[in-house]
């Protein structure tokens, strides 16, 4: 199985980061065998937790000289196995690098270390009337380093866009320990090609970002949040098509199906979604006060026209927070229904939502699996959650087959294999569904610019012809 590191390598790492921050005991390493996608398990050879950019560079240099693979890891909350260790690799975690270096309210910028938690940045910038827009559902725990690697989205990315739109500068440790500064001072590119844009979303295959500069936005003056209750998922899907087709630009449009409603309502984050409903639709508008009510009124009308049984409007910040908490904690709350779950992540053209959802339900029935849907409907980003118990090997096999079928379904509908979770290990096999060999070769070449020896996150994202399977 996992080969232990040579004693002199361990000694070298210990000299850089201190004994407490080098983990080699196989028992302790068990804790790192999965990220947020617990269906996969691989123990690393070691975990190293550096505290500074220089330490990261020294660690990477040493591992590179030894030809040892490196797996970067933030909070380990990713859902595509992007931070899954490799059997020959060493995990380099950024948990200790959790300092907000600078908030520059005049220029609406912040500089942070990669281990800073997404939500903490917004908390810290709130006193200046600013916030950090990308809001993954795991924002209370996921880190900005991980967000950069995955180019993370979130409910409000419908209006605000994903991480790449907000990262303006990066300090990156490349293979061999070279430190480069990309972009900076509010510019995505310091001149020439947009290397920042290239790095964001590289899923840990290019290097480790040790300092991140992001753009902040002023907090919206007002917000309106609606909850539409529907008898069927199909009706909710139609409402989304109506709302988006009417020219409105909501900040977020989210759908939660019945199975998810049940899980959430049983949890401490119960939001008051009716448990007998077929689907719930959360629609939010934000911006200057003028016009907000108009938008909300029109969205309400769209809901009723699509057959909504009821439309509620959050009347206080507490009600709004509860509505969102139910949505954002939905993934964790699934633990109440089944011990394991596989969250799929794919996008389809918005107009295909009702049809694709019906087909997913049919796939679930055929494989006798419970599938709960909670997703960013506004941009057609689906998250079917397949619930299972890993101890049932036969069921696990059905999960894999159903999952593959869902992926093919989405691609056939004109969609793609990931909306925001990344390819990681889980979607690697699907890359050829959306890329031909020439495109894959281009991706490999780009990667080689950053990491010619393929030591960073080997075996992830690209179906690497040279990597062991």
């Amino acid at each position: 199985m996992t080969r232990p590191l040579a004693p002199d390598v361990v000694r070298g790492l210990t000299e850089i980061v201190g004994a407490a921050n080098v983990i080699t005991d196989p028992d302790r390493l068990l804790v790192y065998e999965s990220d947020g996608l617990s269906a996969y398990r691989v123990s690393p050879r070691a975990v190293v937790l550096p505290g500074t950019s220089d330490e990261v560079a020294a660690v990477v240099t040493l591992l590179h000289l030894e030809g040892i693979e490196i797996v970067p890891r933030g909070a380990g909350t990713g859902l595509s196995g992007g931070a899954l260790p490799t059997p020959d690799g060493v995990v380099v975690g950024t948990a200790r690098m959790n300092r907000i270096i600078e908030i520059d309210p005049e220029n609406r910028l912040a500089r942070v270390q990669p281990g800073v938690i997404n939500a903490r940045l917004t908390e810290a910038t709130q006193p200046y009337g600013l916030f950090y827009a990308p809001d993954p559902s795991s924002q209370s725990t996921c880190t900005l380093g991980g967000n950069v690697a995955e180019n993370s989205g979130g409910p409000h990315c419908l209006k605000y866009g994903v991480t790449s739109r907000y990262v303006t500068g990066l300090t990156v440790v490349l293979a061999g320990g070279r430190i480069v500064k990309l972009g900076g001072a509010g510019r995505d590119s310091a001149g020439g090609l947009d290397l920042v844009g290239l790095f964001v979303g590289s899923e840990g295959c290019f290097g480790i970002a040790t300092e991140i500069e992001v753009r902040l936005l002023p907090i919206a003056e007002g917000v309106r949040t609606l909850l539409g209750i529907f008898e069927t998922m199909e009706a909710a899907g139609h409402a989304v098509t109506e709302i988006m087709g009417s020219g409105l630009l909501p900040a977020a449009v989210e759908i939660i199906d019945r199975a998810t409603i049940e899980a959430v309502e049983a949890s401490i984050f119960a939001a008051g979604y009716p448990t007998d409903a077929g689907a719930a639709l959360v629609v939010e508008f934000d911006g200057t006060e003028a016009g907000l009510d108009l938008g909300a009124d029109r969205a309400e009308k769209c809901c009723f026209e699509a057959g909504a049984r009821e439309v509620r409007r959050a009347t206080s910040e507490a009600e709004r927070a509860a509505l969102w908490k139910g949505r954002k904690k939905a993934f964790g709350a699934m633990g109440r229904i089944a011990p394991d779950l596989l969250v799929q992540d794919a996008t389809v053209p918005r107009t295909k939502l009702p049809e694709v959802l019906a087909r997913i339900a049919e796939i679930g029935e055929r494989y006798d699996l419970k599938i709960a849907n909670v997703f960013h409907a506004g941009d057609g980003n689906l998250h079917p959650n397949i619930l299972f118990d890993r101890k049932n090997a036969e069921e696990l096999d059905r999960v894999e087959r159903a999952s593959t079928e869902i992926m093919h379904l989405c691609v056939d509908a004109g969609g793609t294999i990931t909306g925001e979770h990344g390819v990681g290990i889980d979607k690697r096999g699907y890359m050829s569904l959306v890329h031909n060999e020439t495109e894959l070769e281009m991706l490999r070449s780009v990667r080689a610019v950053f990491d010619p020896d393929r030591l960073f996150n080997r075996g992830k994202v690209l179906p690497d012809p040279l990597a062991e399977t």
């Binding site: 005991d25 302790r28 068990l30 975690g93 938690i117 633990g335 109440r336």
Partner: protein
Amino acid sequence: MSTTTGSGSLASALEAQRERLLPCVHCGFCLPACPTYNRLGDEADSPRGRLHLMQAVVDGRLDAGSDAFHTHIDRCLGCRACEPVCPSGVEYGTLLELARETATRARPQGKLTRALLAVMGSPALRAVFFLGGRTLRSLGVARLAVRLIPAGARLGGIRLAFAMLASSSPPGRRLQKAPVNAVPSRAIGAVAVADDDSVGPVPRGSRGRVAYLEGCVQRGLFERINQATVRTLEANGYEVVPVAHQGCCGALHAHGGDLRNARRLAGANILVFEGVEIDYVAVNAAGCGAAMKDYGTLFESNQEMSTRAEAFAAKVRDVTELLSQAGPRRGAPVSCSVAYDHPCHLLHAQGVAQEPLDVLRAVPGIDVRLIDRADECCGGAGIYGITHPELGGRIGRDKVAAILREEADHACTPNPGCMMQIGAGLLLEGSSDVAVHPIELLDESYRRAGYYSATGDSQ
């Protein structure tokens, strides 16, 4: 019973808890709530990591006697801050107790922990231990020792123990000398408290009959808080019923994984309290209250006892819950500012957040300042500060820094364990202040208002 090798029989305590482990889906939402993970950055020191280790023991992939299991389960503060943020509702506190039982059966705990649990579990040893403590405290030896013992790793634990002892001293004149002129009260969030006295005097007993847990540390070092408990409850219309022969509640044993002795102590107390007719059992220590409210779970494998335990647990209330439920009645002004910190076993384990603030709000002239990160553990965590002086000290120093930033007259928290940890931290930082319990302030307010004049004032 005690096996030294193999994980099969050792894992049995956890095996039975397989169901409790299932809800964890590894989402990681608990990570930022964990004080040890926040400081160490190692996922093995996070709730998710510890649950993963427990699962590995249940699955037979990890030896319960291994260094990894022992170290990381032992290093948990048991603050349960991970529970309110868990979407799946994992019962972490219960699982931790079971994991500790499994770990200690495979490999005994440190001598210090065992000695302290033995003392708490025996009335005679306890009496001697606390008599010694009180003597050292009143002679000023504890305070002197803090000054004489050099700061450093070797004697750090002993120095901290003396500092904790010294910090259990009454606030005394500092509190009694607080001005009586009523500046406008400020509650949390700067909302002014209404000046009208809506809760007037209530006939004693009209709100129910209450017994109270005398407790080990409370009786040994904080008798003044027990007395304040009786007086403030009576002033709010409760009839306080004495319960003789009561003992330790077993909380320290349960939290430490000594479930056998926890059940023995809990069972004895349930029996004694069953002997009096009461509506409530009041507790003024958060750790004890949390354990007592959870007696049903402690006895879940014993059908006869679990019913009785649940009936008992249903009567348990933190003293601030009872006072808040009664109003509470307003007293006379005690003009001072307090830096307030939530005890974990009230906030996370019992979900009691507002009631202690209600108690403070009944004291005219008080300025309550909620400290930064008041929802994070102070590092006291029972005997953690003594068994893990380095990490506990680090967590404690962060807490003390947050308190000092408020520049308040008193640190205030409704739990003796936290009061000692915070008080010790203040002392080690060179401050002469001690932490106060909210009911001490209410008690002072009532004394000034003359509510006790008929019954006499034992202060």
